[in-house]
């Protein structure tokens, strides 16, 4: 039995480079039993390489990986007690669905009876009983994805690895399968590491998100925490759609009062920052970037907190999606985006009363990009 505090997966000081290019640098990561960790980042950030290292498909250049407390250095993929689902499904083309699912068991020498009962259990769970005799080419994308998951489930591994499993599906199916994966996780309490470039997927699936950029993990935490308190401007801009608004300004300290001053329309707009939880001490005059999510830029009919600024801003672009209007508003030389009620009458070029709620703002150092 695993000890309660033992990590299913622990990665220690892992680095990986190809020739002279460092792909992963000094990764430390541990996840607890039953976690759903999503590695998210733009393409080329090293997330898939990290997953391949966990799977044993690639050898790390240095550092080590422990699965269930066992050092995996030099252990081949098949002995790592993992299962993996791939973006292209990677179903064996000339085998029936049933064969695809039981192939691994067969290779490992399971008896026919074992294979049969495992197949029944998994195909029932995924509702693919009626497809067992078909070839992968005769299946739709969603069905293939189910079979690929069946192949993983049948192993009952310590750890599931998902490599962008939904990227090949169309938008509607993607949302459906996403919910299905989430449900499966809740039902089985399985430990999962999931790679995606889609921040929406990351937010909706994860119990924990690790945002990666340039081969390092920039931030890690529960999705809401990463959303509310991004550690730097990269995470702030990457997580959330539409992206967070960035407004340049500088810090003004006046006795006990802390303000952020923003040049706007030839004047200076002062944003009170007394309640902002600064990470460290700040100096007067520090150049900063103010980060405000679009949902905190709203119209007059939407309630907001005490800390708010009212402005008249000119809309330049309106996108409607039924439950919201995404509006781009001219803000000095730049633009910010906001979310307005669908009932609000908005005309391009006509100044629009706008409220900006500052209770959830983020402040970043303009030089380093780090959260202040």
């Amino acid at each position: 039995m695993a000890e309660p505090d033992q990590s299913v997966l622990a990665i220690e000081k892992l680095s990986k480079s190809f020739q002279n290019t460092a792909v992963l640098t000094n990764i430390d990561l541990a996840i607890a039993e039953g976690s759903f960790l999503v590695l998210v980042g733009p393409s080329g950030c090293g997330k898939s390489t990290l997953l391949n290292c966990i799977a044993g498909l690639e050898e790390p250049s240095s550092g080590r990986i422990l699965i269930g407390g066992r050092d995996m250095t030099g252990v081949p993929p098949k002995d790592r007690d993992i299962a993996m689902v791939f973006q292209s499904y990677a179903l064996y083309p000339r085998m029936s669905v049933a064969k695809n699912i039981t192939f691994g068991m067969q290779v490992r020498g399971a008896t026919r009876a074992e294979q049969k009962s495992a197949l029944e259990r998994v195909s029932g769970m995924l509702k693919i009983d009626h497809l067992l005799e078909r070839r992968p080419a005769q299946l739709s994308g969603g069905q293939r994805q189910r079979v690929a998951m069946g192949r993983a489930l049948v192993r009952e591994p310590r750890l599931f690895l998902f490599d962008e499993p939904l990227s090949n599906l169309d938008a509607k199916l993607r949302v459906e399968m996403r919910a299905e994966i989430k449900r499966l996780h809740q039902r089985l309490g399985a430990s999962i590491v999931y790679v995606t470039h889609d921040q929406t997927e990351a937010m909706s699936l994860a119990t924990e998100v690790a945002v990666m950029e340039g081969g390092i993990i920039v931030q890690r935490g529960p999705p809401q925490e990463v959303y509310d308190y991004p550690v730097n401007t990269f995470v702030a801009g990457f997580i959330g759609s539409p992206a967070m608004n960035f407004i340049e300004g500088h810090i003004r300290k006046d006795g006990g009062a802390v303000r952020i001053e923003i040049p706007f329309d030839g004047k200076t707009m002062a944003v009170p920052a007394e309640h902002y939880p600064f990470v460290g001490s700040t100096e007067d005059g520090t150049k900063v970037i103010l980060g405000i999510r679009p949902e905190y830029v709203t119209g007059r009919d939407r309630a907001s907190g005490d800390e708010e600024v009212s402005l008249e801003l000119v809309p330049t672009l309106v996108e409607t999606n039924g439950f919201d209007q995404h509006v781009n508003l001219a803000f000095g030389p730049a633009e910010i985006s906001g979310r307005f009620s669908p009932r609000e009458q908005i005309e391009i070029g006509t100044p629009l009363p706008t409220r900006i709620d500052l209770s959830q703002m983020s402040v970043f150092d303009r030089k380093t990009g780090m959260r202040l």
């Binding site: 799977a55 990677a90 064996y92 083309p93 490992r108 080419a137």
Partner: protein, 280 residues
């Protein structure tokens, strides 16, 4: 409508252009010698005679041996079958390893094998003769098989490599996680995908090896000559009367196997050549 008619006319002309020599060969082989001397080249035989076919098969003189093409035909069969099977199988393993197991230097090895395809026969004659001598295979059918396998490997590897390179590498990854090794993955997953390219390779190799003359004449001896060499010896015999009907029958017999292979597997050949990626 006229454009279509023109198209067909053109096609008929091309067909005639290619079929006429065969037509002449067939009718000539069915005539007797008197008629050949008297009649015109294109006219069908007055009296059909299969005698020259019998002669060509079992009693025509190739050099000093007057047993027809028969023994040499079987030599060719004994050479072609193992050579085609071995080179195809090795090419499949090579192509699989080069495309799916991207080891260090895989591209260099592939480039060198590809280069091997462009080396003319004549260049390898002497080194190959020496090699066969050292291996104790000089003049034997096994030696010829080896020569053809080695020379064909570049092509067969190229065919299979380019076929397998379209298969997503995730397939191998998935199978590795499932616990399968190099050869299990090859036999259980990749070989079942391969019939189209196997057909292409087999036709290509069969045609090349069956039709080969240079290696056949260079590396064989009295009892091991392939049919192409024997055909040459029959047709180029300098003594006695020139028996055109026998020559023609012998030439057709020698060419028949490749023709049959193509007729049987031809449609797979086209399909295999145009087959794109394998859809999972």
């Amino acid at each position: 409508m006229t454009a279509r008619g023109l198209l067909y006319l053109l096609l008929v002309v091309f067909v005639a252009y290619y079929m006429l020599p065969l037509f002449v060969m067939v009718i000539t082989s069915l005539k007797d010698l008197d008629e050949i001397r008297a009649g015109s080249l294109m006219s069908p035989p007055d009296r059909v005679s299969l005698e020259s076919w019998g002669t060509a098969w079992s009693s025509a003189c190739a050099g000093i041996l007057c047993e027809g093409l028969q023994p040499f035909f079987w030599n060719s069969v004994k050479m072609v079958v193992p050579a085609v099977l071995l080179s195809t199988l090795l090419g499949a393993v090579n192509g699989y390893a080069l495309s799916q197991w991207r080891f260090r230097g895989a591209n260099l090895i592939f480039a060198l094998m590809l280069f091997g395809c462009f080396i003319p026969f004549q260049v390898v004659l002497l080194p190959m003769a020496r090699t066969l001598g050292l291996l104790g295979l000089a003049g034997s059918l096994s030696g010829l098989v080896l020569v053809h396998v080695v020379y064909g490997l570049g092509f067969t590897t190229l065919f299979f490599r380019n076929f397998y390179v379209t298969v997503p590498t995730e397939l191998v990854k998935a199978a590795k996680i499932d616990g399968a090794g190099f050869f299990t993955i090859f036999l259980r997953i990749f070989l079942p995908l391969s019939p189209p390219i196997i057909v292409v390779t087999v036709i290509w190799q069969f045609t090349q090896i069956w039709n080969d003359f240079l290696f056949g004449v260079s590396f064989s001896q009295a009892g091991t000559q392939p049919v192409t060499v024997a055909l040459n010896n029959i047709v180029n015999a300098t003594t006695g009367v020139k028996e055109y009907n026998v020559d023609m029958a012998a030439a057709i017999i020698a060419g028949l196997p490749t023709l049959i292979v193509y007729v049987i597997a031809g449609k797979y050949f086209i399909r295999g050549l145009t087959a794109g990626s394998v859809k999972g």
